[in-house]
């Protein structure tokens, strides 16, 4: 197998393993083991999800109300 196919494997997109380790080294300074990072990001994902759905449903209901009027 050509060696650069192996190299390609580590990317699967634009995230280079060296870049990842660089990002990790910066984040490590703030988050240590990463548990806090994982918890914060998980909470943010849930908040954004609820926010998008809540606002979107509200807008859709208003559109339906406007049509029914």
């Amino acid at each position: 197998m050509p060696p650069l196919i192996d190299y390609r494997l580590h990317h699967e997109g634009p995230i280079d393993p060296t870049l990842l380790s660089w990002i990790r080294s910066i984040l490590d300074q703030f988050f240590g083991s990463g548990l806090i990072f994982v918890i914060i990001l998980s909470l943010l994902i849930l908040i954004v999800t609820f926010g998008i759905i809540f606002l979107g449903r509200r807008a859709k209901n208003q559109i339906n109300e406007n049509h029914s009027e």
């Binding site: 050509p2 390609r8 660089w22 990790r24």
Partner: protein, 433 residues
């Protein structure tokens, strides 16, 4: 609070779909790009080689590329809502299977075949076509906002996966992806995505109403609007856009794989190379939004050709400038043109061929983009292994990009795009008055 909710009603509903799908794409791209995080874990647990794991990744790339036109055809037939829902549900199920694989053969099957195939249902092809149906005048900026989610997904979620793997292991991290699809992607799609503005009694962009003169004129079909996708194969713009897009795939794929390695081969530290790549990704996100905004105001073919031209200059800098200068010049110049071609090409396809078959046609161009890019990544690596230099590869890409620039500029947008048929209609009307 009351005033906040009143304000939300003034926002066109299509924007909720844009932000919702941008978030879904952010999660999906992050999950897919986390593959690299697990490689070392799989090597240890399955006592296998990186080469064996590579087979799974290679199969996945080919399957995802080939599936794009079929998903496009499915959207044209059934609408994007149901395809997105099935895509998210089946991809989540695929990740559940991945969390239980016992060896590398199952990895090749589950990742290469199941996940790569089912993820096509929430791929860039499907989400861009969904947005194309909701926007006309603001199609460019809407697609750019959508794609910014893809750009951010890897940068934020891959470190997340990396940390989670350290804490709970790769299997539970993959189960975490299942939860993302089940608790985030599916609820967002279920609650927000509608196939078209008409399903809510709206019109594209939310401007005017269904019966207004403006809406009727904006609904004028482009001259090349196709009822069967094969008809587009007999027209010049399809081949112009596709050929230029193949060069786009070649250039972006080569740089995403070889950029850091080029830096190392030129004596630049891997950390500096990776940092430059990070700058490239950041510049990309900002310029992507700018190009989207501009594309709603000037001819998209002009911007598309300019994007390819700027990218050619970036590649040329890698060859002619001292390595350290070339590295940072490309990070800024190349970053400015990185993903910008995607919303422009998708928008032009919808503008020229209308919305009836836009899914299939976008899928075909994306397929060409993926397969062309994949093949040339391999060729670039082979040339580097033979010559010990990337100069010939990058010069070849420069020539290809210059050709793509002229091809993009030669698209007769004012003649074929629905956007300019509107203007003509309005001008004719104004002249008659």
């Amino acid at each position: 609070m009351g005033s906040l909710f009143k304000k939300t009603s003034n926002i066109f509903y299509g924007w909720y779909i844009v932000f919702g799908l941008a978030f879904v794409t952010f999660l999906d791209m992050g999950a897919r790009q986390s593959f690299g995080v697990f490689v070392h874990e799989w090597e240890l647990e399955f006592s296998t080689s990186v080469s064996s794991i590579s087979i799974a990744a290679s199969i996945g790339l080919v399957v995802a590329g080939l599936a794009a036109p079929f998903y496009g055809a499915l959207i044209d037939r059934f609408g994007s809502r149901v395809i997105l829902l099935f895509g998210a549900a089946l991809t989540g199920f695929g990740y559940l299977l991945l969390s239980m694989i016992p060896n590398v053969f199952f990895l090749a099957f589950v990742w290469g075949c199941i996940i790569s195939l089912t993820a096509g249902g929430i791929s860039i092809t499907v989400v861009t076509v969904t947005i194309a149906r909701w926007f006309d005048k603001f199609r460019g900026i809407a697609m750019s906002v959508l794609l910014s989610g893809a750009a951010l997904g890897g940068l934020i979620l891959v470190p997340f996966s990396s940390y989670l793997t350290d804490i709970v292991g790769w299997r539970f991290t993959v189960v975490g992806f299942v939860l993302l699809y089940g608790l985030v992607a599916i609820p967002i799609i279920w609650n927000l995505v509608q196939n078209s503005p008409a399903s809510l009694g709206l019109v594209p962009d939310g401007i005017g109403n269904k019966d207004s003169e403006e809406t009727v004129s904006r609904a004028m079909p482009p001259p090349l609007e196709v009822k069967k996708w094969r008809s587009a194969l007999h027209s010049l713009p399809f081949w112009q856009l596709s050929m230029a897009y193949v060069v786009c795939g070649v250039s972006t794929s080569i740089i995403s794989v070889h950029y850091v390695r080029w830096a190392i081969s030129e004596g630049i530290s891997s950390t500096q190379g990776a940092l430059a790549f990070g700058v490239l990704a950041g510049v990309n996100g900002a310029v992507l939004l700018l190009v989207g905004w501009l594309s709603d105001r000037i001819e998209r073919r002009v911007l598309l050709g300019t994007v390819y031209g700027i990218r050619a200059i970036g590649f040329l800098c890698l060859v002619i400038l001292p390595p350290a200068w070339g590295l940072w010049t490309f990070a800024i110049v190349g970053g400015g043109s990185w993903l910008s071609s995607v919303p422009l090409t998708s928008s032009l396809t919808a503008d020229i061929y209308g919305l009836k078959q836009v899914g299939t046609l976008t899928g075909l161009t994306n397929c060409a983009h993926a397969l062309g890019g994949g093949a040339c990544v391999w060729i670039a690596g082979t040339v580097f292994d033979a010559t010990g230099s990337y100069d010939n590869v990058f010069l070849g890409v420069v020539i290809g990009l210059v050709v793509a620039m002229f091809i993009a500029w030669s698209v007769q947008e004012k003649r074929f795009s629905g956007r300019y048929q509107i203007a003509d209609t309005e001008l004719t009307g104004a002249a008659a008055n």
